[in-house]
Amino acid sequence: MKQNQRYNPAEFQRKFFVYRLLQDYYSGCLWQKKDNWNEILLTLAETRYQEEIIFFDLGMRLIQKLTQEAVYDFNRLFVGPEKLLAPPYESAYRNAEGLLMQKETTDVRKFYSIVGLSVVGQNREPDDFIGLELEFLCFLLYQAVSCFQRGEERADFYLNVYFEFLNMHLGNWVSDHCEDVLRHSTSYFCKGMAMLTKGFIEREKSLLMHKEEIL
C-alpha cells in the first residue's frame, strides 16, 4: 500500500511530540511530568496515526497509568544498580563484546559531527545512549522541516542523514532492546513504552522507501 507521504505539518508535529516523549522517558525526566500525564495522553491520542500501527496502539493502551512501580521497573531495566535487563545503549546490543564505548559508539559520534553536534561530557556518557539517538533523530527531522519551510535545499540533506542514521543505528537495534523490555518488564507502563517505541521507530524506518516523497 503506497500512501501519500507528502509534507504534512500535523504529521511532523506528531513525530516531534513522540520523539520528545521517548527522550523524556529514557532520560528519566518523564516522572517529573506525572501530574500532566493525562494531558500528555490526550495529546498522544490526538496524534494517532491514521492507519493502524499495532504496536504503537497497543502500547498506548498500556501506558494509561504512570505508577511508582513503573519507576522502579524502569530503573531495574535501564538504570541499575543491578545488572541491566535492557541496557539502553546501542553498543550493548550491536557490539560483539556487549560493552559500552565501542566502535558503534564512535560511529554514532561521527554521525553527530556531520551536523556539527557533539555530546556534552564526551567519553563519559556513551554517544549511543538511546535518549541521545532519539534526540538526534528529532533534531534532524526538525531541521529538515524547517529548511523545507524556508525553501532551503538543505532539507534533503537532513532528511538523508535522518534515514541513514535510522537505518544504520537506532532502527537496527531498538527492536531487540524493546523485546528485552517486554521480556523482563514487570509493569504495564514500561511494556507499553517499549511497544510504543518499537512501533514508532519501525514505522519511521518503513518510510525510507518513500523518502523522496516525504517533504
Binding site: G28, V71, Y72, N75, R76, V79, G80, P81, E82, K83, L84, P87, Y89, A92, E97, G98, L99, L100, M101, Q102, T105, T106, R109, K110, S113, G121, Q122, N123, R124, E125
Partner: protein, 681 residues
C-alpha cells in the same frame, strides 16, 4: 576525525601478590586495549586472566552509573538521585546524629582491601576529620603471620622475590602461585631448570603441587608440627647452622632443648606425614642450599596460625637460610607501604575501633552511642564478613547504609544509598604492593565514566557539603586533586628510594625500589635483641608462648560437624571480585565442593550430587565434585563461588596473633567445621 592515540600506565590495585603494571591504549578518549607493561621488572608485560578482563569492567553496561537511593532497604526499588542530593542526605545524617548524640561516634566506617591504591584510602581520611568516629581495625587476611614474623625478625620484609631464581630448594608452603601469583612462576621455573627442587606443602594437591617436583600433604593447620619435626631431625643430625645460631639468634639453647623434648611420633601424627617422609624432606633441606621458603597466608588462618609461621621461621633460621640470596622465609613485605606516611589519614580525634573480625558482634553490643550510620568502602561486607546472621540483625538499627561501588554486590543490596565509583583507569594513584619490590603509577587514562567519582573526589565533596551545612564540621580538605595529594605523600626519602625526582616520572616507567634485595642480609634483625628470636619476650608480653609452641588446634564438636571446610582463593576471582564479568564467568568452573572419595562413599555422594553444607551458622547448597586432591576429613570450596556465600558458615573465631601489626587478631577462616548431606536424599 583525527585519531588521537596515547599509551597510559596503570597498576592493578587488587589484593594480590603481583600488583601488575598495565598499559592502556587510549584512542580518542576511549581505552581500546590493555596489555601488561614490559617495563615492570617483575611482572614483565604479562597479566593474569583477571587482569586481561579489565576492559569488561570499565565499559560494562552494568556499572553503577549514578548515585542511587533504595526505597526500602533490600526492596530492590532504586531511584537515581543527583550527587548533590546524595551528599545532602549523607551530611544531614551525620549532623543530625552529631546533634542527637552529642558526638560523631554513631557514624561508622567499614573499609578494607578492595582497592589498594594509596588514595583509595581517602574515605578513611575523611572519617578521621569528621570528629571521633567508629571504624574497624585489623585484617581478616594475614594478621597472625605478620605478628609471628614481627616476633621473630622484628619486622615484615621479604627479599626481592626475583631471588627465587637463585634458590637451591624452593618450599612453596601453603601457597598456590600457579593460581594466585602467576608472575612468580618464571623465577621458580628458572631455578628448577638450574637444578633446584620445587616442593609444595599443602593440605590440598593444588595446581602448584602438580607442577612441583615433590608434594607433601600436611594436615590443615598443622604446618607448625611439620616444621618442628623437620627442625628436630635436622638438629639431631647436627646439621644446624651453628655459626648463625651462635652469632645472630636469641634463645637457641632453649629452643634446642625444647626440640629435644618433642616426640617425633606425636609430631608426625599431628602433621599427618609419616616419619620416613619427614626425614626425606629434612634430608633435602640439609642437602640443598639456599632454601627459599614461601609461607602462604592459608596456614595462619587458624587458631594456631601464628605459631605455625613462627615454627617455619625457626626452621629457616636454624638451617642458616636467613639473609641468603635465594634463601629465607618469606611471607610479606611492608617496606613499600612504609614509604608513605598516609598524611591524609592523620587524625586528632579519639576514634572508637571495632575488631574487623568481630564486627557484627561488637556492633550489636555497642551502646552509648550506638552506630546509626554505616559507610562501606572498598569492601563487600555482606559477602566477606563472618557471622553474617548477626550482621543482618545488627544493621536493623542503622538508619543509613552507604556503599561506594562499581557494581551491584551483596552489600549494595543492603544499602540505602550507593555511590558510583571510578575504576583505576579513571583516576590517578600509586599502588604499593606486598611482594615484589617495584612501584608503578596509575595514570588517568579516561575521564570518569557516567557520574562515577574516585574515593578521593567523594571525600572532597563530602567535606565541602559538610562545611556548607555547618562551617568547621569537617577538616578534610575541600579542594585539591590526586596530584596534590600525591605531592604530599612522596617525600625526599621516597624519591631517593625510587631514584626519581617526582612521582610523575613514573609515567615513563615503573621504578624498582631501592630496598635491600636480600632481607636480613646483614643479620641485623629489628627485634629488641637485634637477633633472630627463637625466644621472644615480646611474644610473651603479648600473651603468647615465648617460643613457637604446639598449640592445640580447634577441633570440631564431638559427633557433629566433623568435616573441616577450607575456602582457599580461586584462580579466577579475588575474594568476591571479578565474578560478575562475563569473560570470567565463561572460564570459571561451576561452583562445587571438593570431597574425598572415601568420605563421598560414606555419605552416598557422587560427583554432580547436589549437597548441602551446613553448621550452626548457616548452610549452602551446591554440587559436589569427588576428588582425591583433598584429605578425607576436609571439604574444599574455593572462594568466589558466585551468590553462594561460604562466609555464611564462618563462626568468626579469631587467630592467635595479629594485634601487634594490624591492631586485632586475624580471622580463623579455616577453622570452620561443617556437615555435608546429599541434598537428593
Amino acid at each position: 576525525m583525527l585519531k588521537k592515540e596515547r599509551i597510559t600506565r596503570h597498576v592493578c590495585p587488587r589484593n594480590c601478590y603481583d600488583t601488575c603494571a598495565i598499559l592502556a591504549q587510549v584512542r580518542n578518549g576511549r581505552i581500546v586495549n590493555i596489555t601488561g607493561d614490559p617495563a615492570h621488572g617483575y611482572t614483565r608485560g604479562k597479566l593474569c586472566a583477571k587482569g586481561y578482563s579489565y576492559l569488561r569492567r570499565v565499559y560494562s553496561p552494568d556499572r553503577i552509573k549514578q548515585p542511587l537511593r533504595q526505597c526500602g532497604r533490600g526492596s530492590g526499588h532504586w531511584v537515581p538521585v543527583s550527587w548533590d542530593y546524595a551528599l545532602e542526605m549523607i551530611c544531614q545524617k551525620i549532623l543530625d546524629l552529631k546533634h542527637r548524640y552529642g558526638s560523631t561516634l554513631p557514624v561508622c566506617l567499614n573499609k578494607y582491601s578492595g582497592n589498594f591504591g594509596l588514595l583509595n584510602n581517602a574515605i578513611e581520611g575523611l572519617f578521621n576529620q569528621l570528629g571521633p568516629t567508629t571504624q574497624v581495625l585489623g585484617s581478616p587476611c594475614w594478621s597472625a603471620g605478620l605478628d609471628a614474623q614481627t616476633f621473630d625478625f622484628g619486622n615484615n620484609y621479604n627479599s626481592n622475590p626475583e631471588n627465587l631464581r637463585k634458590a637451591g630448594l624452593i618450599l612453596l608452603w601453603g601457597v598456590n602461585p600457579v593460581w594466585t601469583a602467576v608472575h612468580s612462576l618464571p623465577y621458580i621455573y628458572e631455578a628448577q631448570k638450574e637444578g633446584a627442587k620445587v616442593i609444595t606443602i599443602d593440605p590440598i594437591f593444588s595446581e602448584t603441587a602438580k607442577k612441583s617436583d615433590l608434594y607433601f600433604q600436611v594436615r590443615p593447620g598443622q604446618d607448625g608440627y611439620l616444621a618442628l619435626a623437620l627442625a628436630k631431625i635436622i638438629v639431631e643430625a647436627e646439621k644446624e647452622d651453628k655459626q648463625f645460631l651462635q652469632n645472630y639468634s636469641l634463645g637457641w639453647d632453649e629452643f634446642r632443648e625444647y626440640l629435644k623434648s618433642l616426640n617425633l611420633n606425636k609430631l608426625s601424627r599431628e602433621c599427618g606425614l609419616n616419619q620416613q617422609a619427614i626425614k626425606f624432606l629434612a634430608g633435602l633441606l640439609i642437602n640443598h642450599s639456599p632454601v627459599f621458603i614461601w609461607v602462604g597466608f592459608g596456614m595462619q588462618r587458624y587458631a594456631n596460625g601464628g605459631q605455625n609461621v613462627r615454627a617455619i621461621d625457626a626452621l629457616g633460621a636454624l638451617t642458616g637460610n636467613l639473609g641468603k640470596a635465594g634463601g629465607g622465609v618469606h611471607y610479606a613485605n611492608l617496606r613499600i607501604w612504609n614509604m608513605f606516611k598516609f598524611n591524609f589519614h592523620k587524625t586528632g580525634y579519639k576514634n572508637r575501633y571495632l575488631n574487623i573480625n568481630r564486627f557484627a558482634e561488637e556492633l550489636n553490643q555497642l551502646q552509648e552511642p550506638p552506630v546509626k550510620m554505616l559507610w562501606i568502602a572498598n569492601r563487600n561486607l555482606f559477602l566477606q564478613d563472618a557471622n553474617l546472621r548477626l550482621l543482618y540483625q545488627a544493621i536493623k538499627e542503622i538508619e543509613l547504609i552507604i556503599t561506594i561501588e562499581e557494581f551491584m554486590t551483596e552489600s549494595t543490596k543492603y544499602s540505602d544509598l550507593v555511590l558510583p565509583t571510578t575504576t583505576f583507569f579513571e583516576e590517578t594513584d600509586v599502588v604499593p604492593g606486598y611482594w615484589h619490590h617495584w612501584l608503578a603509577l596509575n595514570e588517568q587514562a579516561v575521564p570518569p565514566l557516567h557520574e562515577a567519582r574516585s574515593d578521593l573526589d567523594i571525600a572532597l565533596m563530602v567535606s565541602c557539603k559538610m562545611n556548607s551545612l555547618e562551617q568547621g564540621s569537617c577538616t578534610f580538605p575541600q579542594s585539591g586533586d590526586a596530584s596534590s595529594f600525591l605531592d604530599r605523600e612522596f617525600d625526599d626519602q621516597a624519591y631517593s628510594l625510587l631514584g626519581i625526582r617526582h612521582w610523575s616520572d613514573l609515567k615513563d616507567s615503573p621504578a624498582k625500589v631501592n630496598i635491600p634485595d636480600v632481607c636480613w642480609e646483614d643479620r641485623i634483625f629489628e627485634t629488641p635483641s637485634g637477633k633472630f628470636e627463637f625466644y621472644s619476650q615480646r611474644a610473651e608480653q603479648a600473651g603468647h608462648p615465648l617460643m613457637p609452641a604446639l598449640k592445640e588446634q580447634r577441633k570440631p564438636a564431638a559427633g557433629k560437624y566433623d568435616l573441616r571446610l577450607l575456602s582457599p582463593h580461586s584462580q579466577h576471582s579475588i575474594n568476591s571480585q571479578f565474578q560478575n564479568l562475563d569473560w570470567i564467568k565463561a572460564i570459571k568452573p561451576e561452583p562445587a565442593v571438593l570431597i574425598h572419595p572415601d568420605t563421598a562413599l560414606l555419605k552416598s555422594i557422587v560427583s554432580g550430587s547436589m549437597v548441602r553444607i551446613l553448621n550452626d551458622y548457616g548452610e549452602i547448597v551446591l554440587k559436589a565434585a569427588v576428588s582425591g586432591a583433598v584429605p578425607r576429613d576436609v571439604l574444599v570450596c574455593y572462594q568466589g563461588i558466585g551468590d553462594l556465600n561460604i562466609n555464611r558458615l564462618l563462626s568468626g573465631e579469631n587467630t592467635d596473633m595479629g594485634s601487634i601489626v594490624t591492631g586485632n587478631h586475624g580471622l580463623a577462616i579455616l577453622d570452620t567445621f561443617v556437615d555435608i548431606e546429599n541434598q537428593t536424599d
